[in-house]
Structures are given as structure tokens and as C-alpha cells.
């Protein structure tokens, strides 16, 4: 049963079923045409078919989360989820000891940060055991994109591609229309070419401002395998993406692709891919608080780990109880990521059209602690077992907008990347 002012899932489904394009057309934010609108309605209908909620809640940015039974989520549809393992233990660092860290005391946003909290309607902001909070995908959100393809894509304005298949909850991307202004990506990041089963870092959380003609700004992990059209990833981090989430605040996100962001891939639980097992983490939910320039620093701790056919995602430490859920390797259709990744990558990404938004704190990497965004304690899980420090190579392809530096510190920071910048034209 939904709390007051939040429509029940049943009412929501009925409203989607009865919605017509003409009711939405004319609103400035509606970009989907009638054909795309029909596909979007069908997608939402597929996602929520047979799904019931025990209660719903609204987060700080107005997103509704429905607490649904674990096995009703789109990627399970009645099946039982896998059981999470503990993460492998850290090997004692070998090689150089690293620079002294100094007096740095960031605050970790714990996996339980929403437990005990109530929303503005008085609803608990976590779900009971055996349930997961699924962010409600609405027609209002989807129709802010021109097509299903744009909705699922990592940014809305990619290269056009002819329609091939009908859209459905397995995120096969279909209908397309040419973007008005091509958006492009910028990165400031650091990578390592090494076979791996995932990795770990603490991600410093900021809320970079996204301006007109700018799309998103993020900090994330990439685990990458394959090449060319067969490039595959599992990704996680935080992003500010007002066009998707309708908020200027950072949001916790996950993403995957099995074909270099072409026909497969989607955010969060937006398509049938990720299996969530944790009852309190809101994927696609607001993160708070954000860090303050020269002041308090906040961070989240994320890991991916490939175990028995599933890319498990963790928030916080390596105990099985910190698992959020997993991407089944079946998503990768026997490609590289079905067995391991061959690259680890950490840092920032922005998307813009005529200009690019700030990345991280909006300040360059050289400003360092409390002033520049960072990821620290960057480690990976070798295919042979254990957990070791990364040894990253930075990439600063647009130094006018963004920079990145990599430093090996002593415990507890270890391999650390500072990155970011003001953005602009580059």
C-alpha cells in the first residue's frame, strides 16, 4: 500500500495504460513522438506486469521507489536470486610504500544511510527484508527522451542508427531519430590493462552544476572487456543528470553494455538486466550529503566482483551483506565479460553539446584534498584470486577542461586519482 500522496503501483499502472500521447504532447519537456510514446508505454507495462508493492516512498529529488518482492523484479520474474559471496581479502601491498597521506578524514556514506529515515509523507525509506526498492519509471521521465534508444543510452544524443528491432524490457534499443545537436563525451580518468574479476574504490561525492546544453557529469568505475563492437562493460558510480533524474543532486547509478553502447545497455533497473538483492540501497536514488570545497568530504565505497557467473556489486566493505545485487554474465552473450574483464578504469566523464559541465568539484586535480574530486584505495581482483593495488595510467585528453593525476599513497589511501575541472569549451 502506498503512503499518502504517492499513487499505488496499481493506480500508476492504470494511469500508464490509459495515457495518450495527445495528453502529453505540447508540454515543453516531452520529446517523444507518438510512435516512441507507444513503445515507452509498452516498456513500462512489461516492467511492471505482475509486480506488486508492500509500500512506496519518495526520495529527496522526487523519485518514487516501490518496495517489491525480490523475485518480482524485471530481471528475475519469479526466479530466485543468487547468493552473494564475501569479497576476496586484500593482499599486503608490495612495491613502494607510497607517500604519506597526512591529515585527511573523509566521511563515508554508509550503505545504511537511508535506514530509519522517513520521506516527507512519513513512509520508511527502505524496504523490508525480501523486498527491493525499485525506482518507478514514469512516462514523464521516458518522454523527456526522443526514443527508447535515447532513454537507455548512456547519453541521449548519440549517433543515429536505423531501427532494427522492437523495443522491449530486455533493452534492445530500437526507434531512433537524429539529434538536434550532437553531444560528445569528455573524460579525465586513469586505467590499467590487466585481467581482472572487478575492483574497488572510494568515490568522493560532489554535485557539479549542469548548465544549458550540457547533459551529465559523473565519477565512476568501468570494468571493460572485448573490443570494437564487442566492447563490454560493467559500471557504477554517481552522476548528476538532470535530464534523466529531474534533480541537480548526485544520484547513485549503474550501467552496462555488451556491444560498445550500441543496442544493449541501460541504467539502473530501467531494463531487465541487473538483479538487486539488497533491501535498502536505492539504485537511481539521491546521494547526500555532497562534499564542500575546502570543507567536509563525503565518499561512497563501491566494488564489482565476478563470482560464479555474476558480476556482484558492493557498497561499503566486502562482507556478503554489503552486496547490492549483480549483473548475470548471460547478459554478455559469451563475450569477454562472461569470464573476466581485461581493463579497469576510474574517473570522471561529462557529456555536453556546445559546452561541457564541471567535472567532480569543478576544480583541477592539482588542487588536491578537499578541493579536487578523488577516487582512492583503488584495487582490483586478479583472475588468480585476492585483491591488489591498482597501478593506473592517467588520461588527460582535454586538459583545458579537466585534468587527472595518479599518486600511490600509504595506507589507507593507496592508489589514488584526483581528477576534474571546470569544463567549458574543449
Amino acid at each position: 500500500m502506498a503512503g499518502k500522496s504517492i499513487s499505488s503501483l496499481e493506480d500508476f499502472k492504470k494511469s500508464v495504460e490509459s495515457a495518450g500521447h495527445k495528453n502529453l504532447a505540447g508540454k515543453a519537456e516531452v520529446k517523444a513522438n507518438e510512435s516512441a510514446f507507444s513503445e515507452m508505454k509498452a516498456h513500462i507495462g512489461g516492467l511492471y506486469k505482475g509486480v506488486t508493492e508492500v509500500h512506496s516512498f519518495e526520495d529527496e529529488n522526487g523519485s518514487i521507489f516501490d518496495c517489491i518482492p525480490v523475485n518480482q523484479q524485471p530481471s528475475l520474474k519469479g526466479a530466485s536470486p543468487a547468493q552473494a559471496p564475501d569479497l576476496p581479502a586484500m593482499h599486503k601491498p608490495s612495491g613502494p610504500a607510497g607517500e604519506a597521506v597526512g591529515d585527511r578524514h573523509p566521511h563515508e556514506i554508509a550503505i545504511t544511510f537511508k535506514e530509519g529515515k522517513k520521506d516527507k509523507h512519513g513512509n520508511a525509506m527502505t524496504c523490508p527484508a525480501g523486498h527491493i526498492p525499485m525506482r518507478r519509471i514514469t512516462l514523464e521521465e521516458m518522454t523527456r527522451f526522443e526514443s527508447m534508444r535515447q532513454f537507455f543510452q548512456k547519453s541521449p544524443h548519440g549517433e543515429g542508427r536505423p531501427p532494427k528491432t522492437k523495443g522491449n524490457p530486455t533493452a534492445v534499443l530500437s526507434e531512433t531519430s537524429a539529434p538536434a545537436v550532437a553531444a560528445t563525451h569528455r573524460w579525465a580518468h586513469a586505467y590499467q590493462n590487466v585481467n581482472n574479476l572487478g575492483g574497488h574504490s572510494y568515490l568522493n561525492v560532489w554535485d557539479p552544476a549542469i548548465g544549458a546544453n550540457q547533459i551529465f557529469s559523473l565519477s565512476q568505475h568501468w570494468y571493460v572487456g572485448g573490443s570494437g563492437a564487442g566492447l563490454q562493460t560493467a559500471e557504477c558510480g554517481w552522476q548528476v543528470y538532470p535530464g534523466k533524474y529531474n534533480t541537480k543532486l548526485p544520484v547513485f547509478f549503474i550501467y552496462w553494455t555488451a556491444d560498445d553502447y550500441n543496442k544493449t545497455g541501460c541504467y539502473n533497473l530501467d531494463c531487465s538486466a541487473f538483479v538487486q538483492t539488497n533491501h535498502s540501497v536505492t539504485i537511481g536514488g539521491t546521494l547526500s550529503p555532497s562534499s564542500v570545497y575546502g570543507g567536509a568530504q563525503y565518499e561512497i565505497q563501491l566494488s564489482y566482483y565476478l563470482y560464479q557467473g555474476n558480476w556482484w556489486l558492493y557498497w561499503g566493505g566486502g562482507a556478503a551483506s554489503n552486496a547490492i545485487g549483480y549483473y548475470p554474465t548471460s547478459l554478455y552473450k559469451g563475450g569477454a565479460m562472461a569470464s573476466h574483464a581485461s581493463e579497469i578504469d576510474y574517473g570522471g566523464e561529462t557529456v555536453g553539446t556546445t559546452s561541457f559541465p564541471p567535472m567532480g568539484s569543478g576544480h583541477f586535480a592539482s588542487e588536491g584534498w578537499t578541493k579536487a574530486c578523488y577516487q582512492r584505495d583503488i584495487t582490483y581482483f586478479p583472475t588468480g584470486g585476492g585483491q591488489v593495488n591498482a597501478s593506473l595510467t592517467p588520461s588527460v585528453a582535454w586538459p583545458k577542461c579537466y585534468t587527472a593525476t595518479v599518486t600511490l599513497y600509504a595506507t589507507p589511501w593507496f592508489e589514488t586519482e584526483f581528477f576534474g575541472g571546470p569544463g567549458g569549451s574543449c
Binding site: 548512456k154 547519453s155 560528445t184 569528455r186 571493460v224 564487442g230 588527460v396 585528453a397
Partner: protein, 73 residues
């Protein structure tokens, strides 16, 4: 020594010059891409590792710029 970035194989070769310092060159390992160029630093370095790492960074940056132009969709 071959490196791979975003699935693109890169060959990096290092040379010691007459001043006993190291330089590096990069090229695509794939025959189909050998006509495209990757950037490499012109500087010379004290060690082979430094030259290799600088060349790798320059190659990654080249590939990033190429991927941004086509767009990660």
C-alpha cells in the same frame, strides 16, 4: 610491448638514444588500423619505463579523442 585500451591494441616500442635517454613510439597493433596515427611524446626520459608510460598515456588520450568524436551512445 603490446597494451590494450578500450579493446584497441597498441604497440609501444622504446629506443635508447645517443644521450643514453629513452624515447618511445606507438602504433596500432591491428593491421586494419595501421594507417591511423597515434600520438606519442617527443620528449626523452631517464628510464625505459617512463618513456613507455608517457607513450601509453599519449596513446590513450588519442583514443579518447577519437571515441568522443564518434560518440559513446
Amino acid at each position: 610491448m603490446a597494451e590494450v585500451y578500450k579493446g584497441v591494441e597498441i604497440n609501444i616500442s622504446t629506443t635508447r638514444n645517443a644521450q643514453n635517454r629513452w624515447t618511445a613510439r606507438t602504433e596500432y597493433a591491428s593491421p586494419g588500423q595501421k594507417n591511423s596515427s597515434l600520438e606519442a611524446p617527443e620528449a626523452a626520459y631517464d628510464t625505459e619505463d617512463e618513456a613507455h608510460n608517457a607513450a601509453l598515456q599519449a596513446a590513450i588520450e588519442s583514443i579518447d579523442r577519437m571515441r568522443a568524436a564518434t560518440g559513446k551512445r
